[in-house]
Protein backbone atom coordinates (compact mmCIF):
# COMPACT_ATOMS: atom_id res chain seq x y z
CA UNK A 1 0.00 0.00 0.00
CA UNK A 2 1.40 3.41 -0.89
CA UNK A 3 1.82 6.14 1.70
CA UNK A 4 -0.76 8.38 0.04
CA UNK A 5 -3.36 5.64 -0.03
CA UNK A 6 -2.84 4.76 3.62
CA UNK A 7 -3.09 8.37 4.73
CA UNK A 8 -6.40 8.97 2.94
CA UNK A 9 -8.03 5.73 4.07
CA UNK A 10 -10.20 6.09 7.15
CA UNK A 11 -9.34 3.81 10.03
CA UNK A 12 -12.77 3.91 11.64
CA UNK A 13 -14.98 3.14 8.62
CA UNK A 14 -15.32 -0.27 7.09
CA UNK A 15 -16.51 -1.54 3.77
CA UNK A 16 -18.87 -4.38 3.14
CA UNK A 17 -18.43 -7.45 5.34
CA UNK A 18 -16.72 -10.35 3.55
CA UNK A 19 -18.85 -13.24 2.33
CA UNK A 20 -18.51 -16.36 4.45
CA UNK A 21 -17.08 -18.98 2.10
CA UNK A 22 -15.90 -21.55 4.61
CA UNK A 23 -18.43 -23.99 5.93
CA UNK A 24 -19.02 -23.28 9.61
CA UNK A 25 -20.37 -25.83 12.03
CA UNK A 26 -23.66 -24.92 13.63
CA UNK A 27 -24.54 -24.92 17.26
CA UNK A 28 -27.13 -27.66 17.66
CA UNK A 29 -29.13 -25.79 20.28
CA UNK A 30 -29.22 -22.32 18.81
CA UNK A 31 -28.59 -23.12 15.11
CA UNK A 32 -26.04 -20.30 15.07
CA UNK A 33 -22.72 -20.73 13.22
CA UNK A 34 -19.65 -21.43 15.39
CA UNK A 35 -16.67 -19.35 14.22
CA UNK A 36 -13.53 -21.35 13.44
CA UNK A 37 -11.35 -18.91 15.39
CA UNK A 38 -11.65 -17.87 19.01
CA UNK A 39 -13.14 -14.38 18.92
CA UNK A 40 -12.26 -12.28 21.93
CA UNK A 41 -13.61 -8.79 22.53
CA UNK A 42 -11.32 -6.22 24.07
CA UNK A 43 -11.63 -2.52 24.97
CA UNK A 44 -13.59 -0.67 22.32
CA UNK A 45 -13.30 2.90 23.62
CA UNK A 46 -10.82 4.95 25.65
CA UNK A 47 -11.70 4.96 29.33
CA UNK A 48 -11.74 8.39 30.96
CA UNK A 49 -11.48 7.31 34.59
CA UNK A 50 -8.74 4.81 33.84
CA UNK A 51 -6.76 7.59 32.18
CA UNK A 52 -7.40 9.74 35.26
CA UNK A 53 -6.02 6.95 37.44
CA UNK A 54 -2.83 6.56 35.45
CA UNK A 55 -2.22 10.27 34.91
CA UNK A 56 -3.01 11.56 38.41
CA UNK A 57 -4.36 9.17 41.01
CA UNK A 58 -1.66 6.52 40.90
CA UNK A 59 1.09 9.05 41.58
CA UNK A 60 -0.90 10.77 44.30
CA UNK A 61 -1.84 7.53 46.04
CA UNK A 62 1.77 6.45 46.00
CA UNK A 63 3.01 9.76 47.43
CA UNK A 64 0.31 9.84 50.11
CA UNK A 65 0.80 6.28 51.32
CA UNK A 66 4.56 6.09 50.96
CA UNK A 67 6.28 4.73 54.07
CA UNK A 68 10.03 5.04 54.02
CA UNK A 69 12.05 1.98 54.98
CA UNK A 70 15.83 2.03 55.16
CA UNK A 71 17.02 -1.20 53.63
CA UNK A 72 15.30 -4.52 53.11
CA UNK A 73 12.95 -5.91 55.74
CA UNK A 74 14.14 -8.55 58.17
CA UNK A 75 12.84 -12.03 57.41
CA UNK A 76 9.51 -12.74 59.11
CA UNK A 77 9.68 -14.27 62.57
CA UNK A 78 9.13 -18.00 62.30
CA UNK A 79 5.87 -18.88 64.01
CA UNK A 80 5.74 -22.17 65.91
CA UNK A 81 3.29 -24.61 64.35
CA UNK A 82 0.80 -26.67 66.32
CA UNK A 83 1.98 -30.00 64.92
CA UNK A 84 5.46 -31.12 63.98
CA UNK A 85 5.56 -31.06 60.15
CA UNK A 86 8.40 -33.60 60.06
CA UNK A 87 6.34 -36.16 61.95
CA UNK A 88 4.85 -38.50 59.31
CA UNK A 89 1.77 -39.03 61.49
CA UNK A 90 0.75 -35.32 61.32
CA UNK A 91 2.44 -34.48 58.00
CA UNK A 92 -0.62 -33.49 55.95
CA UNK A 93 -2.75 -32.23 58.78
CA UNK A 94 -3.88 -28.59 58.73
CA UNK A 95 -1.16 -26.92 60.74
CA UNK A 96 -2.22 -23.57 62.23
CA UNK A 97 0.40 -21.36 63.91
CA UNK A 98 0.31 -21.19 67.71
CA UNK A 99 -1.25 -17.91 68.81
CA UNK A 100 -3.96 -17.71 66.18
CA UNK A 101 -4.24 -16.09 62.79
CA UNK A 102 -1.72 -13.41 61.90
CA UNK A 103 -4.17 -11.78 59.47
CA UNK A 104 -4.66 -8.49 61.29
CA UNK A 105 -1.04 -8.15 62.31
CA UNK A 106 0.74 -8.31 58.98
CA UNK A 107 2.38 -5.04 57.90
CA UNK A 108 1.58 -3.74 54.41
CA UNK A 109 4.02 -4.69 51.66
CA UNK A 110 6.89 -2.20 51.19
CA UNK A 111 5.94 0.93 49.23
CA UNK A 112 7.02 0.64 45.65
CA UNK A 113 5.72 1.77 42.25
CA UNK A 114 4.66 -1.79 41.49
CA UNK A 115 2.29 -2.10 44.42
CA UNK A 116 0.84 1.40 44.29
CA UNK A 117 -2.80 1.00 45.23
CA UNK A 118 -5.27 0.36 42.40
CA UNK A 119 -8.91 -0.58 42.01
CA UNK A 120 -9.23 -4.25 41.04
CA UNK A 121 -12.98 -4.75 40.84
CA UNK A 122 -16.34 -3.45 41.94
CA UNK A 123 -18.70 -6.05 43.33
CA UNK A 124 -22.43 -5.33 43.49
CA UNK A 125 -24.95 -7.53 45.19
CA UNK A 126 -28.55 -7.35 46.20
CA UNK A 127 -30.84 -9.62 48.19
CA UNK A 128 -34.58 -9.75 47.57
CA UNK A 129 -36.82 -10.99 50.36
CA UNK A 130 -39.74 -11.65 47.99
CA UNK A 131 -37.65 -14.18 46.10
CA UNK A 132 -38.00 -16.61 49.01
CA UNK A 133 -41.71 -16.98 48.40
CA UNK A 134 -41.46 -17.01 44.61
CA UNK A 135 -38.24 -17.17 42.63
CA UNK A 136 -39.81 -15.39 39.67
CA UNK A 137 -39.65 -12.17 41.73
CA UNK A 138 -35.92 -12.17 41.01
CA UNK A 139 -36.50 -11.47 37.31
CA UNK A 140 -37.04 -7.74 37.81
CA UNK A 141 -33.85 -7.52 39.86
CA UNK A 142 -31.87 -9.43 37.24
CA UNK A 143 -33.16 -7.12 34.51
CA UNK A 144 -32.23 -4.05 36.60
CA UNK A 145 -28.72 -5.40 37.20
CA UNK A 146 -28.27 -6.12 33.49
CA UNK A 147 -29.32 -2.60 32.64
CA UNK A 148 -27.04 -1.17 35.34
CA UNK A 149 -23.87 -3.07 34.50
CA UNK A 150 -24.28 -4.35 30.94
CA UNK A 151 -22.64 -7.63 31.97
CA UNK A 152 -23.74 -11.04 30.73
CA UNK A 153 -22.44 -14.58 31.04
CA UNK A 154 -19.15 -15.07 29.15
CA UNK A 155 -19.72 -11.78 27.37
CA UNK A 156 -17.29 -10.96 24.58
CA UNK A 157 -15.91 -14.51 24.53
CA UNK A 158 -14.25 -14.06 27.93
CA UNK A 159 -14.55 -17.17 30.01
CA UNK A 160 -13.78 -15.28 33.25
CA UNK A 161 -16.83 -13.02 32.95
CA UNK A 162 -19.61 -14.52 35.01
CA UNK A 163 -22.23 -11.88 34.31
CA UNK A 164 -25.18 -11.66 36.69
CA UNK A 165 -24.87 -14.53 39.17
CA UNK A 166 -27.70 -15.89 41.26
CA UNK A 167 -26.97 -16.08 44.99
CA UNK A 168 -28.55 -19.02 46.80
CA UNK A 169 -29.26 -19.51 50.47
CA UNK A 170 -26.61 -21.43 52.40
CA UNK A 171 -28.19 -22.17 55.74
CA UNK A 172 -31.58 -23.05 57.03
CA UNK A 173 -32.86 -20.30 59.28
CA UNK A 174 -36.33 -20.98 60.62
CA UNK A 175 -39.02 -18.77 59.10
CA UNK A 176 -36.53 -16.95 56.87
CA UNK A 177 -34.28 -18.88 54.51
CA UNK A 178 -33.61 -22.41 53.29
CA UNK A 179 -30.44 -23.77 51.66
CA UNK A 180 -30.40 -23.81 47.87
CA UNK A 181 -33.18 -21.33 47.15
CA UNK A 182 -32.29 -18.30 45.00
CA UNK A 183 -32.49 -15.12 47.09
CA UNK A 184 -30.38 -12.51 45.33
CA UNK A 185 -27.96 -11.58 42.57
CA UNK A 186 -24.36 -10.39 42.40
CA UNK A 187 -22.15 -8.92 39.68
CA UNK A 188 -18.37 -8.50 39.55
CA UNK A 189 -17.21 -5.62 37.39
CA UNK A 190 -13.68 -5.27 36.08
CA UNK A 191 -11.89 -3.09 33.58
CA UNK A 192 -13.83 -0.51 31.54
CA UNK A 193 -17.23 -1.73 32.78
CA UNK A 194 -16.05 -1.05 36.33
CA UNK A 195 -14.96 2.49 35.51
CA UNK A 196 -18.21 3.13 33.61
CA UNK A 197 -20.26 2.11 36.62
CA UNK A 198 -18.10 4.21 38.94
CA UNK A 199 -18.46 7.25 36.69
CA UNK A 200 -22.24 6.88 36.54
CA UNK A 201 -22.41 6.48 40.30
CA UNK A 202 -20.44 9.60 41.18
CA UNK A 203 -21.87 11.83 38.47
CA UNK A 204 -25.56 10.93 38.31
CA UNK A 205 -26.53 9.07 41.47
CA UNK A 206 -24.67 10.33 44.54
CA UNK A 207 -25.21 14.07 43.85
CA UNK A 208 -28.96 13.50 43.54
CA UNK A 209 -29.40 11.41 46.69
CA UNK A 210 -31.29 13.18 49.46
CA UNK A 211 -29.56 13.47 52.84
CA UNK A 212 -26.44 11.70 51.67
CA UNK A 213 -23.44 13.36 53.32
CA UNK A 214 -21.07 10.63 52.17
CA UNK A 215 -20.03 7.11 52.96
CA UNK A 216 -19.98 6.89 56.76
CA UNK A 217 -16.69 5.71 58.21
CA UNK A 218 -16.42 3.86 61.51
CA UNK A 219 -15.25 5.94 64.50
CA UNK A 220 -11.50 6.44 64.74
CA UNK A 221 -11.47 4.36 67.93
CA UNK A 222 -12.54 1.21 66.05
CA UNK A 223 -10.12 -1.70 65.79
CA UNK A 224 -7.29 -1.51 63.27
CA UNK A 225 -6.80 -5.28 63.26
CA UNK A 226 -10.29 -6.36 62.25
CA UNK A 227 -10.60 -8.30 58.98
CA UNK A 228 -12.52 -5.44 57.33
CA UNK A 229 -9.86 -2.86 58.09
CA UNK A 230 -6.94 -4.93 56.79
CA UNK A 231 -8.55 -6.24 53.60
CA UNK A 232 -8.51 -3.12 51.43
CA UNK A 233 -12.22 -3.11 50.57
CA UNK A 234 -14.52 -0.09 50.79
CA UNK A 235 -18.20 -1.00 51.09
CA UNK A 236 -21.43 0.90 51.28
CA UNK A 237 -25.07 0.46 50.37
CA UNK A 238 -27.55 2.32 48.21
CA UNK A 239 -31.22 2.52 49.23
CA UNK A 240 -33.95 1.43 46.78
CA UNK A 241 -34.76 5.09 46.14
CA UNK A 242 -31.32 5.54 44.55
CA UNK A 243 -31.99 3.10 41.73
CA UNK A 244 -34.13 5.59 39.83
CA UNK A 245 -31.17 7.97 39.57
CA UNK A 246 -29.11 5.66 37.35
CA UNK A 247 -29.74 6.95 33.81
CA UNK A 248 -29.98 3.40 32.45
CA UNK A 249 -32.91 2.75 34.77
CA UNK A 250 -34.35 6.26 34.75
CA UNK A 251 -35.45 6.04 31.10
CA UNK A 252 -38.03 3.35 31.86
CA UNK A 253 -38.33 3.16 35.62
CA UNK A 254 -41.94 1.99 35.40
CA UNK A 255 -40.87 -1.15 33.52
CA UNK A 256 -39.49 -2.57 36.77
CA UNK A 257 -41.85 -4.05 39.36
CA UNK A 258 -40.22 -2.09 42.20
CA UNK A 259 -37.01 -0.22 43.01
CA UNK A 260 -34.15 -2.32 44.40
CA UNK A 261 -31.32 -1.37 46.73
CA UNK A 262 -27.81 -2.73 46.46
CA UNK A 263 -24.52 -3.19 48.27
CA UNK A 264 -21.38 -1.97 46.51
CA UNK A 265 -17.84 -3.12 47.32
CA UNK A 266 -14.76 -1.42 45.91
CA UNK A 267 -12.04 -4.07 46.00
CA UNK A 268 -8.47 -2.75 45.85
CA UNK A 269 -5.11 -4.48 45.97
CA UNK A 270 -4.23 -2.99 49.38
CA UNK A 271 -3.36 -5.52 52.08
CA UNK A 272 -1.96 -5.42 55.59
CA UNK A 273 -2.40 -2.93 58.41
CA UNK A 274 -4.29 0.22 57.38
CA UNK A 275 -5.38 -1.27 54.06
CA UNK A 276 -8.92 0.08 54.29
CA UNK A 277 -7.65 3.61 54.89
CA UNK A 278 -5.49 3.39 51.81
CA UNK A 279 -8.43 2.01 49.83
CA UNK A 280 -10.55 4.96 51.02
CA UNK A 281 -7.85 7.38 49.91
CA UNK A 282 -7.94 5.87 46.43
CA UNK A 283 -11.73 5.71 46.17
CA UNK A 284 -12.09 9.30 47.35
CA UNK A 285 -9.84 10.20 44.43
CA UNK A 286 -12.69 9.00 42.22
CA UNK A 287 -14.93 11.52 44.08
CA UNK A 288 -16.76 9.20 46.44
CA UNK A 289 -17.29 11.35 49.56
CA UNK A 290 -16.55 10.06 53.06
CA UNK A 291 -17.72 11.41 56.43
CA UNK A 292 -16.90 10.50 59.98
CA UNK A 293 -19.86 10.28 62.38
Amino acid sequence: MSVAASSTRSVVRFGRTPKITRHLRKNRMTQLPIPHVNILMREFAPCRLEDHYYSTLQDNAMYMTYVHESGPRPPPRSVRLTYDPTDPYTKNRYNPPVGGSQLGKKPPPPSSPENAIRLEKISIHSMLKDAISSRSNLLGLIMAMRALTGESYKAGGRHAVDGIQIVRGKKSVGGWIRPGIPVGVKVDLKGPAMYDFLGTLVEFVLPRLRDFPGVIMPPSSSSVNSPSSVSGVVSFGLPPSAMGFFPQIEVNLDAYPKPYGMHIHFVTNATGLGAQNRARALVSGFQIPFVRK
Binding site: F14, R16, I39, E43, D51, Y54, S55, M62, P113
Partner: protein, 300 residues
Protein backbone atom coordinates in the same frame (compact mmCIF):
# COMPACT_ATOMS: atom_id res chain seq x y z
CA UNK B 1 -1.37 3.39 27.84
CA UNK B 2 0.12 6.35 29.68
CA UNK B 3 3.65 6.31 30.91
CA UNK B 4 4.17 5.19 34.45
CA UNK B 5 7.57 6.80 34.60
CA UNK B 6 6.85 9.30 37.35
CA UNK B 7 6.39 6.51 39.87
CA UNK B 8 9.43 4.53 38.91
CA UNK B 9 11.55 7.61 38.96
CA UNK B 10 10.11 8.77 42.27
CA UNK B 11 11.62 5.84 44.02
CA UNK B 12 14.94 6.59 42.43
CA UNK B 13 14.94 10.18 43.53
CA UNK B 14 13.93 9.35 47.10
CA UNK B 15 16.78 6.90 47.23
CA UNK B 16 19.06 9.68 46.15
CA UNK B 17 17.90 11.85 49.04
CA UNK B 18 18.48 8.98 51.44
CA UNK B 19 21.97 8.55 50.12
CA UNK B 20 22.71 12.21 50.67
CA UNK B 21 21.78 12.00 54.33
CA UNK B 22 23.81 8.86 54.91
CA UNK B 23 26.91 10.41 53.48
CA UNK B 24 26.79 13.60 55.53
CA UNK B 25 26.13 11.71 58.75
CA UNK B 26 28.94 9.26 58.08
CA UNK B 27 31.50 11.95 57.41
CA UNK B 28 30.55 13.75 60.60
CA UNK B 29 31.10 10.72 62.77
CA UNK B 30 34.39 9.95 61.07
CA UNK B 31 35.80 13.41 61.79
CA UNK B 32 34.79 13.21 65.45
CA UNK B 33 36.36 9.78 65.86
CA UNK B 34 39.63 10.83 64.27
CA UNK B 35 39.88 13.91 66.48
CA UNK B 36 39.35 11.89 69.65
CA UNK B 37 41.56 8.93 68.77
CA UNK B 38 44.63 10.93 67.75
CA UNK B 39 46.48 11.77 70.98
CA UNK B 40 47.68 15.23 70.00
CA UNK B 41 45.25 16.81 67.54
CA UNK B 42 47.43 19.40 65.90
CA UNK B 43 44.87 20.56 63.32
CA UNK B 44 41.19 20.44 64.22
CA UNK B 45 39.21 19.51 61.13
CA UNK B 46 36.61 22.14 60.53
CA UNK B 47 33.05 20.98 60.88
CA UNK B 48 31.24 21.40 57.52
CA UNK B 49 28.53 24.07 57.66
CA UNK B 50 24.96 22.97 58.10
CA UNK B 51 23.19 22.32 54.80
CA UNK B 52 20.78 24.99 53.62
CA UNK B 53 17.41 23.29 53.08
CA UNK B 54 14.57 24.78 51.08
CA UNK B 55 11.16 23.46 50.06
CA UNK B 56 9.80 23.79 46.54
CA UNK B 57 6.33 23.09 45.18
CA UNK B 58 5.58 21.42 41.87
CA UNK B 59 2.12 22.89 41.39
CA UNK B 60 0.19 20.77 38.92
CA UNK B 61 -2.98 21.26 36.96
CA UNK B 62 -4.25 17.80 35.95
CA UNK B 63 -5.64 17.16 32.46
CA UNK B 64 -9.15 18.62 32.03
CA UNK B 65 -9.87 17.14 28.58
CA UNK B 66 -9.53 13.51 27.57
CA UNK B 67 -6.49 12.50 25.58
CA UNK B 68 -6.80 12.35 21.79
CA UNK B 69 -6.29 8.72 20.78
CA UNK B 70 -3.51 7.98 18.33
CA UNK B 71 -4.26 6.70 14.83
CA UNK B 72 -3.43 3.18 15.93
CA UNK B 73 -5.70 3.44 18.97
CA UNK B 74 -8.57 4.74 16.85
CA UNK B 75 -8.20 1.87 14.39
CA UNK B 76 -8.00 -0.63 17.24
CA UNK B 77 -11.06 0.74 19.02
CA UNK B 78 -13.09 0.89 15.82
CA UNK B 79 -12.22 -2.72 15.03
CA UNK B 80 -13.12 -3.91 18.52
CA UNK B 81 -16.36 -1.92 18.47
CA UNK B 82 -17.23 -3.64 15.20
CA UNK B 83 -16.69 -7.07 16.73
CA UNK B 84 -18.76 -6.02 19.70
CA UNK B 85 -21.58 -4.82 17.48
CA UNK B 86 -21.70 -8.05 15.55
CA UNK B 87 -21.63 -10.27 18.64
CA UNK B 88 -23.81 -8.44 21.15
CA UNK B 89 -27.01 -9.89 22.54
CA UNK B 90 -30.16 -8.70 20.77
CA UNK B 91 -31.37 -5.40 22.16
CA UNK B 92 -34.75 -5.74 23.95
CA UNK B 93 -36.65 -3.01 22.06
CA UNK B 94 -40.03 -3.73 23.59
CA UNK B 95 -38.59 -3.49 27.11
CA UNK B 96 -37.14 -0.04 26.62
CA UNK B 97 -39.57 1.59 24.16
CA UNK B 98 -43.32 1.80 23.75
CA UNK B 99 -44.33 0.22 20.45
CA UNK B 100 -44.41 2.78 17.66
CA UNK B 101 -43.27 5.68 19.85
CA UNK B 102 -41.26 8.59 18.59
CA UNK B 103 -38.29 7.62 20.74
CA UNK B 104 -38.25 4.15 19.22
CA UNK B 105 -38.34 5.57 15.69
CA UNK B 106 -35.42 7.83 16.46
CA UNK B 107 -33.44 5.03 18.09
CA UNK B 108 -34.01 2.75 15.08
CA UNK B 109 -32.80 5.43 12.69
CA UNK B 110 -29.67 6.07 14.73
CA UNK B 111 -29.01 2.37 15.10
CA UNK B 112 -29.26 1.87 11.35
CA UNK B 113 -26.73 4.64 10.84
CA UNK B 114 -24.32 3.05 13.30
CA UNK B 115 -24.69 -0.38 11.69
CA UNK B 116 -23.95 0.97 8.22
CA UNK B 117 -20.90 2.71 9.65
CA UNK B 118 -19.64 -0.60 11.01
CA UNK B 119 -20.68 -3.05 8.30
CA UNK B 120 -20.73 -1.01 5.10
CA UNK B 121 -23.20 1.32 3.42
CA UNK B 122 -25.50 -1.41 2.10
CA UNK B 123 -25.91 -3.31 5.34
CA UNK B 124 -29.52 -4.34 6.00
CA UNK B 125 -30.84 -2.55 2.94
CA UNK B 126 -32.43 -5.66 1.43
CA UNK B 127 -34.12 -6.79 4.65
CA UNK B 128 -36.78 -4.14 4.90
CA UNK B 129 -38.44 -1.78 2.53
CA UNK B 130 -39.49 1.61 3.90
CA UNK B 131 -41.44 3.95 1.64
CA UNK B 132 -39.95 7.34 0.94
CA UNK B 133 -42.84 9.18 2.58
CA UNK B 134 -42.52 7.12 5.75
CA UNK B 135 -38.75 7.69 5.93
CA UNK B 136 -39.17 11.45 5.44
CA UNK B 137 -41.89 11.60 8.10
CA UNK B 138 -39.70 9.65 10.54
CA UNK B 139 -36.78 11.97 9.93
CA UNK B 140 -38.90 15.10 10.44
CA UNK B 141 -40.30 13.68 13.69
CA UNK B 142 -36.82 12.82 14.97
CA UNK B 143 -35.53 16.30 14.09
CA UNK B 144 -38.49 17.85 15.89
CA UNK B 145 -37.73 15.74 18.97
CA UNK B 146 -34.07 16.72 18.92
CA UNK B 147 -35.04 20.40 18.67
CA UNK B 148 -37.43 20.08 21.62
CA UNK B 149 -34.81 18.46 23.79
CA UNK B 150 -32.18 21.04 22.87
CA UNK B 151 -29.78 18.53 21.39
CA UNK B 152 -28.72 20.72 18.51
CA UNK B 153 -26.12 22.59 20.53
CA UNK B 154 -22.53 21.91 19.61
CA UNK B 155 -19.91 20.57 21.96
CA UNK B 156 -17.27 22.81 23.46
CA UNK B 157 -14.13 22.93 21.31
CA UNK B 158 -11.28 20.69 22.47
CA UNK B 159 -8.73 23.44 21.86
CA UNK B 160 -9.06 26.52 24.04
CA UNK B 161 -8.43 30.07 22.84
CA UNK B 162 -5.53 30.21 25.31
CA UNK B 163 -3.78 27.69 23.06
CA UNK B 164 -4.36 29.61 19.88
CA UNK B 165 -3.09 32.92 21.27
CA UNK B 166 -0.29 31.15 23.21
CA UNK B 167 -1.29 32.54 26.58
CA UNK B 168 1.15 30.93 29.00
CA UNK B 169 -0.64 32.46 32.01
CA UNK B 170 -3.90 30.68 31.37
CA UNK B 171 -4.91 27.58 33.33
CA UNK B 172 -7.07 26.51 30.37
CA UNK B 173 -4.14 25.94 28.05
CA UNK B 174 -3.06 22.41 27.04
CA UNK B 175 -6.21 20.79 28.44
CA UNK B 176 -5.07 17.28 27.54
CA UNK B 177 -1.76 17.60 29.34
CA UNK B 178 -0.44 17.94 32.87
CA UNK B 179 0.87 21.48 33.24
CA UNK B 180 3.08 22.88 35.99
CA UNK B 181 3.71 26.33 37.42
CA UNK B 182 7.13 27.82 36.70
CA UNK B 183 8.35 31.23 37.94
CA UNK B 184 10.78 33.63 36.29
CA UNK B 185 13.02 34.94 39.07
CA UNK B 186 15.69 37.56 39.30
CA UNK B 187 18.22 36.54 41.95
CA UNK B 188 21.52 38.45 42.21
CA UNK B 189 21.15 39.78 38.70
CA UNK B 190 20.63 36.28 37.32
CA UNK B 191 17.35 35.71 35.53
CA UNK B 192 16.18 32.12 35.62
CA UNK B 193 13.10 29.93 35.63
CA UNK B 194 12.37 27.70 38.63
CA UNK B 195 9.50 26.19 40.62
CA UNK B 196 8.10 28.24 43.54
CA UNK B 197 10.35 27.68 46.54
CA UNK B 198 11.49 29.17 49.82
CA UNK B 199 13.38 28.61 53.04
CA UNK B 200 12.34 26.42 55.95
CA UNK B 201 11.93 28.24 59.25
CA UNK B 202 13.12 26.77 62.51
CA UNK B 203 10.73 24.19 63.93
CA UNK B 204 8.67 24.09 60.76
CA UNK B 205 7.83 20.90 58.90
CA UNK B 206 8.90 20.64 55.28
CA UNK B 207 5.42 20.37 53.78
CA UNK B 208 4.19 23.30 55.88
CA UNK B 209 7.13 25.36 54.68
CA UNK B 210 6.27 24.39 51.09
CA UNK B 211 2.68 25.62 51.52
CA UNK B 212 3.80 28.89 53.14
CA UNK B 213 6.46 29.57 50.53
CA UNK B 214 4.02 28.91 47.72
CA UNK B 215 1.63 31.51 49.10
CA UNK B 216 4.47 33.94 49.78
CA UNK B 217 5.67 33.83 46.17
CA UNK B 218 2.41 33.36 44.24
CA UNK B 219 -0.16 35.15 46.38
CA UNK B 220 -3.05 33.69 48.31
CA UNK B 221 -5.61 33.95 45.53
CA UNK B 222 -5.52 30.28 44.73
CA UNK B 223 -6.82 27.11 46.29
CA UNK B 224 -4.08 24.49 46.43
CA UNK B 225 -3.53 21.14 48.05
CA UNK B 226 -0.13 19.66 48.95
CA UNK B 227 -0.61 15.99 48.09
CA UNK B 228 1.80 14.37 50.50
CA UNK B 229 3.98 15.13 53.48
CA UNK B 230 6.73 13.16 51.77
CA UNK B 231 8.94 15.01 49.32
CA UNK B 232 8.77 13.56 45.82
CA UNK B 233 12.17 14.71 44.62
CA UNK B 234 15.39 16.41 45.62
CA UNK B 235 17.76 18.77 43.84
CA UNK B 236 21.32 19.64 44.81
CA UNK B 237 23.21 22.12 42.64
CA UNK B 238 26.70 20.96 41.71
CA UNK B 239 29.20 22.58 44.16
CA UNK B 240 31.60 25.12 42.71
CA UNK B 241 35.33 24.47 43.21
CA UNK B 242 36.18 27.83 44.67
CA UNK B 243 33.30 27.89 47.12
CA UNK B 244 33.72 24.42 48.57
CA UNK B 245 33.51 25.79 52.13
CA UNK B 246 30.01 27.13 51.55
CA UNK B 247 26.97 25.33 52.91
CA UNK B 248 25.43 22.69 50.75
CA UNK B 249 22.08 23.65 49.23
CA UNK B 250 19.32 21.05 49.12
CA UNK B 251 15.87 21.62 47.66
CA UNK B 252 13.04 19.19 48.37
CA UNK B 253 10.10 19.10 45.95
CA UNK B 254 6.48 18.58 46.98
CA UNK B 255 3.63 17.80 44.65
CA UNK B 256 0.56 20.02 44.84
CA UNK B 257 -2.64 20.46 42.84
CA UNK B 258 -4.35 23.70 42.02
CA UNK B 259 -8.13 23.53 42.53
CA UNK B 260 -9.19 27.11 41.84
CA UNK B 261 -7.84 30.62 41.50
CA UNK B 262 -4.73 31.89 39.82
CA UNK B 263 -1.24 33.15 40.60
CA UNK B 264 -1.02 36.82 41.57
CA UNK B 265 2.50 38.22 41.69
CA UNK B 266 3.33 41.13 43.98
CA UNK B 267 6.08 42.22 41.61
CA UNK B 268 9.32 42.17 43.61
CA UNK B 269 11.80 39.41 42.83
CA UNK B 270 9.52 37.35 40.63
CA UNK B 271 9.04 38.80 37.20
CA UNK B 272 6.70 36.37 35.51
CA UNK B 273 5.00 33.00 35.74
CA UNK B 274 3.92 30.37 33.22
CA UNK B 275 1.92 27.16 33.16
CA UNK B 276 4.04 24.74 31.16
CA UNK B 277 4.18 21.13 30.05
CA UNK B 278 7.17 18.94 30.73
CA UNK B 279 8.73 19.57 27.33
CA UNK B 280 8.28 23.33 27.64
CA UNK B 281 9.92 23.28 31.07
CA UNK B 282 13.00 21.55 29.66
CA UNK B 283 13.55 24.40 27.23
CA UNK B 284 13.52 26.99 30.03
CA UNK B 285 15.36 25.63 33.07
CA UNK B 286 19.08 24.97 33.52
CA UNK B 287 20.54 21.58 32.71
CA UNK B 288 21.29 20.34 36.24
CA UNK B 289 17.98 21.67 37.58
CA UNK B 290 16.23 19.77 34.78
CA UNK B 291 18.07 16.56 35.69
CA UNK B 292 16.80 16.95 39.25
CA UNK B 293 13.12 17.35 38.37
CA UNK B 294 12.55 15.64 35.02
CA UNK B 295 11.59 12.30 36.50
CA UNK B 296 8.82 13.60 38.74
CA UNK B 297 7.02 15.39 35.90
CA UNK B 298 4.42 13.58 33.86
CA UNK B 299 5.27 12.79 30.25
CA UNK B 300 1.69 13.32 29.27
Amino acid sequence: MLSRNPLASCRLSTNVSLHVFHRTLATETVTELSSSSIPVPSIRTKRPPRAHISAAVILNRSPIVTRTPTLFERAYYAYQARIRRSLHNPFPFDFYFKQGSLLETRFNMEEKKRERRAFGPNFGRDDEFVSKEKAAADKAAADQLALQEGEVEDFMPRVHTADTIRDLHSLDRKGKRNIYLLLLTNAQGKVMWRFPQGDVEKGELLHQAAQRDLHAECGSFMDTWIVSRNPIGVYKPAPLESLSEEAEKITFFFKAHIMAGQVKLDGTSIKDFAWLTKQEIEARVQKDYWDGVKDVLSDY
